[in-house]
């Protein structure tokens, strides 16, 4: 870790003023949040491709999704599904923040998006044509596939001309995007940033996790003794971030303050976490250090909590290393929406913002039997109303990429 002291807060705090969500349990932030608090299970039979040759058949798809109404400039039907989900969530976040009437020039607005797989549907279409001997009909692949088009499509649809970047840090990517946005605002490179993540349900992703033996047969049960694996999912999630003084000046409602983030790398294994949770611990500690908070000031942890036997055991170890014996609430919404890949930590960042502003934390559903190796208060099965002054969002990814972000209450005046 760097020996340098974190830069001060001379540019003021960075706050979240808008949220947009499209998830397996809701097509907007309100319905998603209400469903998560109600413990709704968004997992169902996979409909987007044929799973008959797989040994599992369930996942977290966004069903009944119709992007058309949200698009004003681009034609959604010409874009890949991850871009559709991203733009759909971005439009909601921008409207929620009232960004279009905020008076920021377009070149002072930016976008940072995360993803695991970009637009894998484009590769699947190409491969289907290839195998059918019709590779010459591959369409606009070069303009629709490369992952950065997700951020590009969000920016183009919303006529954003500033700092636009794509951070494919796999399943920690949403947190990377939030961290990037914080720095872009803190250094004055932008006046408002859209930060989030998007991933589409994909044959490639599903096949890969199935081959690793990681997919649960029916339900996702993070931290439960009988947990049998993760559940692939899809989502789009976008947060609007601004400097606090700008948000206050224009009278924007503020969900939460982004007080710190931390990044680390396990440098251990591509698909398995470090046996001592080393990287996860360092990311949490760096986030606390930059936030200027002690571990006992954190009220709630949004866990990575995939539901695989290994992740949840090692994550418990890492959380206990940082938080000691204190039993703070640590829940996983992946029990309800599955693992939405590059969108996951963006959805969970939005959930942390809502938890901080509403003093409610979502549960871990399907929790039946405690696991001594996952000795955490995982908020079993029922949402809880508690004071949430500070929420930490943890995300861990293929490649050993770890990212933690901390959201805090705005002096009790959050909405």
């Amino acid at each position: 870790m760097s020996t340098a002291r974190p830069e001060g807060h001379e540019s003021g705090r960075i706050v979240v003023t808008g949220l947009g969500l499209v998830t397996p349990v809701g097509h907007d932030r309100v319905s998603t949040w209400n469903a998560l608090l109600a413990g709704v299970d968004g997992i169902g039979e996979v409909e987007s491709f044929d799973t008959s040759r797989h040994s599992s058949h369930r996942g977290g798809e966004v069903k009944g999704f119709d992007p058309v109404g949200r698009f004003r400039k681009l034609d959604p039907m010409e874009l890949g599904r991850a871009s559709q989900l991203a733009v759909f969530a971005a439009r909601e976040a921008v409207e929620d923040a009232g960004l279009e009437t905020a008076g920021y020039p377009s070149h002072r607005l930016g976008v940072a998006m995360g993803t695991t797989s970009g637009e894998p549907g484009q590769v699947e279409d190409m491969d289907d044509r290839w195998l059918a001997g019709e590779l010459d009909r591959m369409g606009a692949f070069a303009r629709l596939y490369p992952s950065h088009v997700i951020a590009g499509h969000v920016a183009a649809e919303l006529e954003i001309e500033g700092v636009v970047t794509m951070l494919p840090a796999a399943c920690a990517a949403g947190n990377y995007a939030v961290g990037f946005a914080v720095d872009a605002l803190r250094t004055g490179r932008a006046d408002a940033m859209l930060a989030g993540g998007a991933d589409a349900f994909s044959r490639i992703t599903y096949t890969g996790f199935a081959r690793l033996g990681a997919i649960a047969p029916e339900i996702c049960q993070p931290f439960d003794r009988g947990r049998q694996g993760m559940m692939p999912g899809e989502a789009g999630a976008v947060l609007v971030l601004e400097r606090e003084r700008d948000a206050r000046r224009r009278g924007a409602e503020i969900y939460a303050v982004v007080t710190g983030y931390g990044l680390s790398c396990d440098a251990h294994h591509m698909t398995a976490a470090h046996p001592e949770g080393d990287g996860a611990v360092r990311a949490m500690k760096q986030a606390l250090r930059f936030a200027g908070l002690a571990a006992d000031q954190i009220s709630y942890v949004s866990a990575h909590g995939t539901g695989t036997p290994t992740n949840d055991r090692l994550e418990t170890k890492a959380v206990r290393t940082v938080f000691g014996d204190r039993r703070l609430p640590v829940s996983s919404i992946k029990s309800m929406i599955g693992h939405t890949m590059g969108a996951a930590s963006a959805v969970e960042s939005a959930v942390c913002c809502l938890a901080v502003s509403q003093n409610r934390v979502p549960p871990t559903i399907h929790y039946e039997e405690p696991d001594p190796e996952c000795d955490l208060d995982c908020v079993p099965n029922e949402a809880r109303e508690i004071p949430v002054n500070a929420a930490m969002n943890n995300a861990y990814a293929f490649g050993g990429n770890n990212a933690s972000v901390i959201f805090t209450k705005l002096n009790g005046s959050a909405r």
Partner: protein, 421 residues
């Protein structure tokens, strides 16, 4: 520039490129570029993953790295695909050049910010086709691990023990410059003291054919950046990585400063690269932000451009450069390394940076080999087909992607202390 901010310095760099010819160090690369050695070979002579469909490729040449991983990687490199292998070779060369031993890395964390356009599209597509053809139970788990876009950065972290921040940046052909920019911010903010930053992409049938299908490839054997007859780029591959450090930390460990990453800027063109003027405006904004970041008092002595031979992209670069250079210092020499290396996608920006490091180290500015006929429809730049001696204190790096991303980076010569503003 902001007073009191940590300064970010370059203390080493490494690359593996198509012009590699036994000389692995920076001096070898610089002299090969100055000699105008290009990398273009008939595609039948190149070893890249082209499956059984290579006869669909219409271009005669490309720039591929002649590369046997056994010569470069001690250990079991088989779980790592070509993009990852290239990234690791460039990273270990950068570490060696900077004097960052494995032992030192266990004491002080080093991170990695890697730009890439595709990661490995070949790995992803091959994995998917096997799953469809043979059945999902017959795919290789290792291929799935490599199918995520950040796989190369993750593999490099494991191979080299890089425990610091690890980030992957896409953005098409500007990804390499954006990686330098993100690394710069992670160091300035105190999140890291030492980061490898650059880019890597592989030549593969899938991307090659996709570019061909999209009409992005040029018809000539060699690339023609800024030339009147340019009609597309020539595919390339490789990896280039810089060792970036906080100046205070680099000084403490006794590192040598090759250059200063003085500033960067990023912007987006909402026309997604379809409108030349709009794309030029985006690059102009990116350069403006980079110069403001670096402190505008130092004149730009040379430009290491990302021009590749694409009609709109090169025109936008020329228009943006005319605008920013006219308000700077009259006639400024411009070079375009893709004329020698081809379009190495996510690695390209880092190769542009290696060229800039050579210029500020007093090496010749490489010529734009394929540039023969000025294009009357774009602003005139100070271009030359052959190398020139250009004393340079500050070099500007510019790049646009064909779909609207724009980035600029400013590299300064060490030892020239800028006047505080």
């Amino acid at each position: 520039m902001t007073a009191g901010r940590r300064r970010v310095v370059v203390t080493g760099a490494g690359a593996i490129s198509p012009i590699e010819n036994g000389e692995v160090g920076l001096e070898g690369l610089w002299s090969a570029l100055a000699a105008g050695r290009d990398a273009f070979l008939p595609i039948a002579e190149l070893q890249f993953d082209r499956d059984a469909e290579a006869d669909r490729l219409q271009r005669a040449t490309a720039a591929g790295v002649r590369f046997d991983p056994r010569d470069h990687l001690e250990g079991n490199y088989r779980p790592i695909d070509r993009t990852g292998q290239l990234a690791i070779v460039a990273a270990q060369r950068a570490l060696a050049e900077a004097g960052w031993t494995a032992e030192r890395r266990t004491v002080q964390e080093v991170g990695l910010v890697l730009g890439t356009m595709f990661g490995s599209l070949h790995t992803i597509s091959a994995f998917d086709r096997r799953g469809v053809e043979a059945g999902p139970k017959y795919v290789k788990p290792l291929d799935f691990a490599n199918s995520v876009i950040n796989a190369a950065a993750g593999q490099a972290a494991i191979w080299l023990g890089l425990r610091g921040p690890n980030s992957t940046v896409t953005g098409g052909c500007v990804a390499g410059l954006q990686a330098l920019a993100q690394a710069c911010e992670l160091i300035r903010s105190g999140r890291s003291d030492a980061l490898l930053a650059g880019g890597a992409d592989e030549l593969a049938f899938e991307s090659f054919f996709a570019f061909q299908h999209a009409g992005l490839l040029g018809s000539a054997d060699l690339p023609r950046p800024f030339d009147a007859r340019r009609d597309g780029f020539v595919p390339g591959e490789g990896a280039a990585i810089l060792m970036l450090e906080a100046e205070d930390s680099a000084t403490r460990r006794g590192g040598t400063t090759l250059g200063i990453l003085a500033g960067h800027g990023t912007a987006f063109d909402p026309s997604r690269g379809t409108d030349r003027g709009s794309l030029a405006s985006a690059l102009t904004r990116a350069v403006g932000a980079a110069l403001e970041d670096a402190g505008p008092s130092v004149p730009i002595d040379a430009v290491s451009s990302g021009a590749s031979g694409l009609p709109t992209g090169d025109a936008a670069e020329a228009a943006a450069l005319e605008q920013v250079l006219n308000s700077s210092s009259g006639t400024t020499p411009v070079t375009a390394v893709k004329s020698l290396l081809g379009e190495s996608l996510g690695a390209a920006g880092a190769f542009q940076a290696l060229v800039a490091l050579g210029i500020i180290a007093g090496r010749e500015l490489p010529g734009v080999a394929g540039w023969h006929q000025a294009d009357p429809d774009i602003p005139a730049l100070d271009l030359a087909a052959t190398p020139r001696a250009i004393p340079a204190r500050r070099v500007l790096l510019t790049s646009v992607s064909f779909d609207g991303f724009a980035c600029a980076v400013v590299l300064d010569r060490p030892g020239d202390q800028e006047t505080p503003t």
